[in-house]
Symmetry: C2
Subunit: 338 residues, 2 copies
């Protein structure tokens, strides 16, 4: 009988995730019922939002309960099927695969992936997956970019920021990214075509933005919060927009998340600050993937995936998102591709 | 020769406006040049934003310079005209009349008022003037109210809030106002048809909102800021909107204006916080006045004007806006109606 290894939430982290917050558990898999699939997970997506799900702060989904399998998005292969719609060997995305080797997935919550020739499977958890959707709808729906506007992105070399910035270039924006380290900044300007990059680990962000954004900032694609958000927000032009996509600098803290120092700027400069969560856009995924797929084929969108082998590495690897030591969309390889 | 009495800004107020911040000056009026009108001001509008103009904080118009006539919106009557388009006796709104007895107004910046039968002249500085426009575009354009949604307004018995709340009722919203004192609250519910009112001077605002808004709050028409804003913001439903119209609780302070405690709610609940200034909507005033005029004629919009006689009372009267001791749109009667 196949055993399923999984990470179970034991304690809500007090700050950064520590070893004792999750337990590694092995258990027998249940018998499949009609309409269910047994999916062997291949890749697990690690995202900043995972840290939110571990907490009991106000959030957009119910928190993961203590004792439950840690929630996470996966791609896997069907090993057993009691559904007419899926066959063994199908590549699928269960609705919520979890931090586990196997997922028992009901057919109606399972999405079959038609992997395009030349596209790696990992892309379906990054540029052609939730992070690509986040970049696409965040920038285009929430940000409403216009040609010639200046777009600044924090965590610009991250999975979302790097795609959103390239979409900004396609839409004719002047695009400046904020990232940590010269290598990431070079990647943004030399490989992805950003107009400028700020290394927040080496440069004074505000002064660098003043230099790189001579006509101010029209759109802030905000992933970080804190001092970096402040530097961008305080330079937003009249009618500027903040796309509030993430606040990763606060996810390891308890309690309320501080906003910009001068809320009055929103009034005086007629700013729009708008939060969004990608799950609200899943029904419109098709339009995003059509555009993203075309742009990839045309060589106008590039991306990197950072794959860590071994589900046992998931807890330690999550921390890379908070230190920025990863390079591209962070994924765990749970098992080998077929 | 006619003398013009006027209030000149002498010092930027440190907190609440004090007597020594403005000087009363009398001067001879200049000779009119071609295309100019001499307007005798009849009513001067006092608005919270006047206090912002006295400061040098970041704002939406240049601050009033030290030594300049205090800026303010007026209605007056043309006494002399060197324009073919205006004749003595015309009732007009100069672009910026100022806190003064007379305004020399260039014809192209002067708007002639066609005073409708049965409508008092004061209405053109309130419900059919800038505050009516503010209520109309703030609620409808920024707030996008939908039938059945819950709308909460702070400073709800004020010139803007009371109109915006009634428009909310016309649009089918559940409308709750926050105001200071039982008399104002009774006016909202008994005269204006609000569904509920919270007396922030006597009630715990959060608890009262919980009782009066059983399905949460979809739209915050925010005029106040501070603790009252916090009580509303923290109860905004998913996809809720904050119409950021004013932050009067902060206008007597220097320095940045604090926002809601938990900026993270904007992300988690997909909120939109959007600031606006009515001057951006002047080109669309016609559509607002058409609706407002019809609603007034139908008895669906009511309003109050609070007229203080005597331009010498302008500085003292401004403070009423901050203590809430006025009752309706605050106006100074500078001179008698013709």
């Amino acid at each position: 009988m196949t055993k399923n290894g999984k990470w179970v939430l034991r304690h809500r982290p007090q700050a950064a995730l520590v070893e004792t917050d999750l337990d590694w558990v092995q258990e027998a898999l249940p018998e499949l019922r009609d309409g269910e699939l047994l999916v062997r997970n291949i890749y697990l997506s690690l995202d900043p939002t995972n840290r939110i799900w571990m907490s009991d702060r106000e959030q957009y989904l119910p928190p993961v309960q203590i004792g439950d399998t840690m929630r996470g998005t996966t791609i896997g292969v069907v090993e057993q099927s009691r559904s007419d719609r899926f066959a063994p060997g199908d590549i699928v995305m269960p609705a919520m695969g979890g931090w586990q080797d196997y997922t028992v997935s009901p057919e109606r919550m399972t999405r079959k992936l038609n992997v395009a020739p030349g596209i790696p499977l990992t892309a379906y958890l990054s540029v052609l997956g939730p992070t690509g959707l986040t970049a696409y709808f965040g920038l285009l729906d929430i940000g409403q970019p216009k040609e010639g506007e200046t777009l600044v992105l924090s965590a610009a070399a991250g999975a979302v920021g790097s795609i959103a910035g390239q979409i900004g270039k396609i839409k004719g924006c002047h695009v400046v990214g904020i990232a940590g380290g010269a290598a990431k900044c070079d990647w943004l300007t030399e490989e992805l075509g950003f107009d400028g990059a700020v290394d927040y680990k080496a440069q004074e962000v505000g002064a660098a933005l003043d230099r790189l954004c001579p006509t101010g900032i029209d759109i802030d694609f905000e992933n970080v919060g804190g001092a970096i958000m402040e530097a961008v927000f305080s330079r937003l032009n009249r009618n500027g927009r903040m796309i509030l996509c993430g606040l990763i600098s606060a996810y390891n803290d308890e309690g309320p998340v501080p906003g910009p120092a001068d809320f009055g700027r929103i009034l005086m400069q007629r700013l729009t600050v708008r939060g969004f969560i990608v799950i609200d856009y899943l029904a419109r995924a098709g339009e995003a993937f059509a555009d993203l797929g075309r742009w990839i084929a045309e060589g106008r969108i590039k991306w990197k995936d950072h794959v860590v082998p071994g589900l046992e590495k998931a807890p330690d690897s999550l921390q890379l998102l908070f230190t920025g030591q990863h390079d591209g969309k962070l994924l765990i390889r749970v098992s080998d591709e077929p």
